[in-house]
């Protein structure tokens, strides 16, 4: 059983010892039910920390910000940053390490096990609760305990558990400096169950389905912005290169290819989402944040999940488990499938 006190104790300890620059954790949000990230450098402030089923964010995303910030500083503080990380979040850190985007000594991981549970899907919760405003969601054995104005309500896990948690392969940290909670694996018969509905459709019906999804996209790029793997300084879908320095020539800037137009249209949105999914193939660790933040509810996760499935079925590759392995698309095996090639 994960105790908040244990997390606070570890956080306080590491901050007091001065081993880390600051700590990234979860606090209660003033916006709604879901937790918000908090950045703590004063050990006295660890009491803000919370640990509930509303701690949905993948805080490893902020390691990317930290690296960027450090690159701009003249005399950076090189101490690591402490981060509270769930199983999926630690797999993201593993990919960042595998790609040498960060070094192991840049991060101090307080791993927290989800222990046979996970985080909630706020949309599922809202569908279920409607007017009764949930205020707090806690893990309890096989159930979620939800505090509302009308008292506590017990809800079976699978009813409001995020889909990605139901299909989670490692709901405990795979890499950590300290671990809070026990390594318990959730049972799951089919890690790709959520894809089945769409996969079973005919190509025409699949297109009708996705067309409608992509039609809604407003290209706020929240999916890209929230993703710890979308750390490129220069993204192919941006019209200008953000990595311009005084040495960048006018020609280089002028020749930046505009692959897609800036306005949201099915064709342009599709291009963006497909390229993003491909760039995440073998890298996405299914934290589901892209889908969670989407303001128009596009099932973005399914694109990434599809890539994850192909990587596993065809190439026996799983992301975020081994920092020493070559990445999916920078490696091959002689007997990779080629039945699709003429």
């Amino acid at each position: 059983m994960v105790k908040l006190e244990d997390i606070k104790k570890e956080a306080k300890k590491v901050l007091e010892e001065g081993k880390v620059k600051y700590l990234i954790g979860y606090k209660r949000s003033t916006n709604g039910l879901l937790a918000a990230p908090v950045f703590i450098s004063d050990p006295k402030e660890v009491d803000q920390l919370i640990w509930e089923a509303t701690c949905v964010q993948n805080l490893s995303r902020f390691l990317v910000d930290e690296k960027r910030k450090k690159a701009r500083e003249k005399d950076p503080d090189n101490r690591p940053v402490a981060v509270i990380a769930k199983g999926c979040d630690t797999r993201a850190i593993m990919v960042l390490l595998q790609e040498k985007y960060i070094e192991r000594e840049d991060v101090y991981i307080i791993g927290v096990s989800c222990e046979n549970a996970g985080v909630i899907d706020e949309r599922k919760l809202n569908r279920k609760f409607k007017e009764k405003k949930p205020e707090k969601v806690l893990f309890e054995q096989d159930n979620f305990s939800i505090a509302t104005k009308h008292g506590k309500i017990q809800v079976p896990q699978e009813e409001i558990l995020a889909e990605r948690c139901i299909e989670c392969k490692a709901n405990f940290p795979v890499i950590y400096d300290v671990l809070v909670g026990e390594k318990i694996t959730r049972k799951c018969d089919n890690y790709f169950q959520s894809l089945e509905t769409v996969e079973s459709l005919s190509p025409d019906a699949r297109w009708d389905y996705w067309k409608e999804q992509f039609d809604r996209c407003i290209r706020c790029y929240a999916c890209r912005s929230v993703c710890p793997m979308c750390y490129c300084d220069e993204c192919v879908v941006d019209s200008i290169n953000l990595a311009v320095t005084v040495d960048t020539t006018a020609e280089e800037k002028a020749q930046k290819i505009r692959w897609i137009e800036k306005y949201p249209d099915v064709s342009e949105n599709l291009f963006y989402h497909l390229i993003r999914a491909l760039h995440l193939a073998g890298r996405c660790i299914d934290c589901g944040e892209c889908e969670r933040v989407c303001p128009v509810n596009i099932p973005i996760r399914h694109l990434n999940k599809k890539m994850e499935k192909e990587a596993q079925d065809r190439f026996d590759y799983e992301a975020g488990l081994d920092a020493d392995k070559p990445s999916l698309v920078s490696s091959f095996r002689d007997d990779d499938p080629q039945d699709f090639i003429m």
């Binding site: 190509p203 297109w207 009708d208 491909l278 599809k306 192909e310 990779d336």
Partner: protein, 151 residues
């Protein structure tokens, strides 16, 4: 188009073909110099290696209205850069699966191994590709809409 012609007869698909300089592009040249006939529906783009074909190129071709896209490289073991076609094989498979997952017709995107000596194979692939595309009609799913703005 005459009023009596059916859509299939009138429709000539446009195929963008990314051809490896060391093999498939030479293969298409061989087909040419050997006076083999193949449909004029392809826009060949010579690339240094099938491994250098980014998914961006493929999606961009469809975005700009290609009815079909072909990526053609050297047979396994024959890559001029030793491993490029093996990388391509993985990447193209992922791309193909993803595009089909969102509903593009599977017939529209193909990969082939064509060596510099296989002019006849190249001719056959193109002919077959064109025939497969004709009944599908123009590719509209990934194509950028050039229609005037919506109300």
């Amino acid at each position: 188009m005459t009023m009596t012609a059916t859509r299939e007869e009138a429709f000539e698909p446009r195929i963008v073909a990314f051809l490896c300089k060391w093999c498939s592009s030479a293969g298409s040249d061989l087909a040419g110099v050997s006076r083999m006939q193949y449909p004029p529906n392809i826009v060949p783009i010579t690339v240094m290696c099938s491994g250098s074909v980014s998914p961006l190129f493929v999606l961009s071709a469809f975005n700009k209205g290609a009815d079909g896209v072909l990526v053609s490289g050297c047979h396994p073991g024959d890559c001029h850069y030793i491993k490029g076609n093996y990388y391509a094989r993985r990447r193209i498979l992922l791309l193909k699966e993803l595009m089909e997952f969102v509903g593009i017709e599977p017939q529209r995107f193909k990969m082939s191994w064509v060596s510099a000596a296989e002019g006849a194979k190249f001719t056959g692939i193109i002919g077959e590709f064109v025939e497969e595309l004709k009944p599908l009609g123009p590719q509209t799913r990934f194509k950028r809409s050039l229609a005037a703005q919506e109300a």
